[in-house]
């Protein structure tokens, strides 16, 4: 069964899953409600309706308004905590009643379209830890850093609350290092900047540790509420995410635009149009998929350039080497050496 994907004009977010929290945070810091809402298509009277909804576009506009109105760098960190402890988000409540981190994250990933439709994750196991990579599932304009901070704050806050410490956890971010120490101050974990992916690394020992508030009955009750919410917010993915998913499964073959469009049930031209609404295009997505796959393969093991080129669907290894140099600025062998050294 292929999961439906949402268009740019679908109202896929609930107002109570973030907007109301963000607005009250901003208002307590002196921002004016009508200025925050200007240009978003959200009406003041809808804010407290239980199932009031908004476009993802409006959400991005709202974030932008908040940053224009306020110079408050703590906003995304607080929003993460506020979401986690909100009484109106049953998904977040269910996270706290989970048995352990594994169950909580599985729950979050399964219902992510209700809270963070803008990201999807990938898990990699390493020797002592599990890496969770977050990739943007749709065009986030310049709000990717803000949203990443929100997600990571939510995760870290959950771990801090339920396991008592965030010891051993580290974060890698793509963004360049900022002179301010906001990340360290709010999160209390190691953060490294200028990395090739945005990911969080969680030690295996934390993974199975029992949550303080673990409660099987409450967990299944809140989970039922999440399921019911699925009738309102159906489980659908953003178009760029679906395309990356398809391409990745098809490797080493490469699907062309028409093939992808047929699988997704779209015409080729509307696929193109919808991608441009996400500020991306088909070739960029394909390139991204290959880049991630290459990095992952290189980190895993001992492939020759020829093997890598074959696995990624390059016609010969020279093309692969050139592409790799474009992505990382390094040739594959020195990347491998760097990784092994670390």
């Amino acid at each position: 069964m292929s999961i439906r994907h949402f268009g740019y004009q679908d109202k896929i977010l609930l107002l109570q899953h973030g907007s109301t929290e963000l607005l009250s945070l901003a208002q307590r810091r002196g921002a004016l409600l009508h200025k925050l809402l200007s240009g978003t298509g959200i009406f003041e009277q809808d804010l407290h309706k239980p199932h009031g909804r908004l476009h993802h576009n409006d959400w991005l506009k709202l974030l932008q308004n908040c940053q224009q109105q306020l110079n408050s760098p703590e906003l995304p960190y607080l929003l993460g905590g506020a979401l986690l402890n909100s009484r109106y988000i049953s998904l977040c409540q269910s996270l706290q009643y989970a048995q352990n981190l594994r169950q909580a994250l599985a729950q979050l990933y399964y219902f992510r379209h209700q809270l963070f439709p803008c990201f999807y994750g990938r898990l990699y196991q390493q020797q002592h830890c599990i890496l969770i990579e977050l990739k943007p599932a749709l065009g986030l304009a310049n709000q990717q850093g803000f949203m990443l901070t929100v997600v990571f704050s939510l995760l870290l806050e959950l771990i801090k609350q339920q396991l008592g410490s965030v010891c051993g956890i580290s974060l890698q971010l793509q963004q360049p290092a900022s002179p301010q120490l906001q990340h360290q101050l709010h999160w209390g974990v190691d953060v490294s900047f200028n990395q090739s992916v945005d990911c969080i690394s969680i030690p295996l020992t934390l993974w199975q540790q029992r949550f303080i508030d673990a409660d099987l009955q409450k967990f299944s009750a809140t989970r039922r509420t999440c399921r019911q919410l699925n009738h309102v917010l159906s489980k659908q993915r953003a178009l760029p995410e679906s395309i990356c998913h398809l391409q990745r499964r098809a490797l080493p073959q490469l699907l062309n635009q028409d093939q992808v469009a047929t699988v997704l049930g779209l015409s080729s031209s509307s696929l193109k149009r919808q991608l441009s609404q996400h500020n991306t295009n088909f070739a960029t997505l394909l390139d991204e998929v290959r880049r991630d796959a290459a990095r992952q393969l290189l980190q895993q093991g001992h492939y020759s350039n020829r093997q890598l080129a074959q696995k990624l669907g390059y016609s010969d290894e020279h093309n692969f080497r050139r592409a790799f140099k474009r992505w990382t600025g390094l040739i594959p062998s020195s990347f491998k050496g760097m990784f092994n050294f670390n």
Partner: protein, 298 residues
């Protein structure tokens, strides 16, 4: 401003009066049918405008070189226009060339002097802008104020701390910091809601700034951590201030059944703001460990 320019105004009045007397002495009055209304109107207006400039310069500028240039330039213009207006009413004998020179020569000279004064004014304005910009970076930048607590934030703290460290080191004075942290603030937020947490923080910040001296700078270092900069204060004095503050703060937490607070004082011996702030973090971590062991309310 007028009082600063008393002699200048007296001098200008005498100059104009002498011009008037000279004109009356050398020439004789015209008949009223010889007056040219249009000329009188034009020259009169020019004179009035020039007098207006003179007034504006006197009323808006303090004494100084640039003011002198501007003033005397305008005064020459006024003098020239004044004589120009007078010759509409007074006819001079043809042999007398002095009056027509006095009419036409001062105007261009006055223009030149005025222009030189304006250039000086421009330079002066640039210097003032530069001076303000440098100062406002430290004293006033509303962009750096945290909107919740109305205190300055981390960025400002770093800049001011760096400057103060340099100043205090060059003058061999002592600089101290007070670091205040709310213990387990996330739990407060969780139990009472984010709104209550925000209200608590702003209450705390007001109490902090009201119980410190005017010279101290209180900043919101992180979400639940405040740092006060105590210029020209040695550690023993900072210790006394901290004790005093602890008493005040303990009342706050008893009244509101709020969370525990940890307050640490430290002397700044580091060379840079970043290392000083790191030391502050370490001191705070140490203090938290020891209070956790003793289980002692502050």
């Amino acid at each position: 401003m007028w009082r600063q320019h008393r002699y200048k105004m007296l001098f200008s009045l005498l100059l104009l009066l002498s011009g008037l007397l000279l004109a009356i002495d050398t020439g004789d009055a015209k008949h009223s049918n010889e007056f040219d209304a249009l000329d009188i109107l034009g020259e009169g207006t020019t004179l009035l405008v020039a007098c207006g400039w003179l007034g504006l310069i006197i009323s808006s500028r303090p004494t100084g070189r640039v003011t002198e240039w501007l003033y005397y330039g305008s005064l020459l213009l006024v003098y020239s226009y004044f004589l120009d207006l007078l010759d509409e009413f007074i006819r001079y004998p043809d042999t007398m060339r002095l009056m027509s020179w006095l009419e036409s020569l001062p105007a261009p000279v006055g223009m030149l002097v005025l222009t030189y004064g304006l250039i000086g004014w421009h330079r002066e304005q640039r210097a003032i802008n530069r001076q303000l910009r440098g100062r406002e970076l430290f004293l006033r930048d509303h962009q750096l104020i945290d909107p919740l607590t109305q205190l300055y934030g981390l960025e400002y703290l770093q800049a001011v701390l760096q400057r103060e460290i340099e100043l205090h080191q060059s003058q061999h004075k002592a600089l101290s910091l007070l670091v205040l942290d709310v213990d387990n603030f996330a739990a407060v937020n969780r139990r009472h809601g984010m709104a209550a947490g925000d209200a608590y923080l702003s209450q705390l910040s007001e109490l902090l700034s009201s119980h410190l001296r005017y010279s101290d700078v209180v900043c919101r270092y992180a979400g639940d951590r405040f740092i006060a900069l105590l210029p020209n204060t040695a550690l023993p004095q900072a210790h006394i201030m901290a004790q005093h503050l602890r008493q005040q703060l303990s009342q706050l937490s008893v009244e509101n059944s709020g969370p525990q607070l940890t307050l640490v004082e430290m002397a700044v011996q580091q060379d840079s703001a970043i290392s000083a702030l790191q030391a502050a973090d370490q001191a705070m971590a140490l203090a938290k460990k020891t209070t956790a062991l003793k289980l002692q309310p502050i």
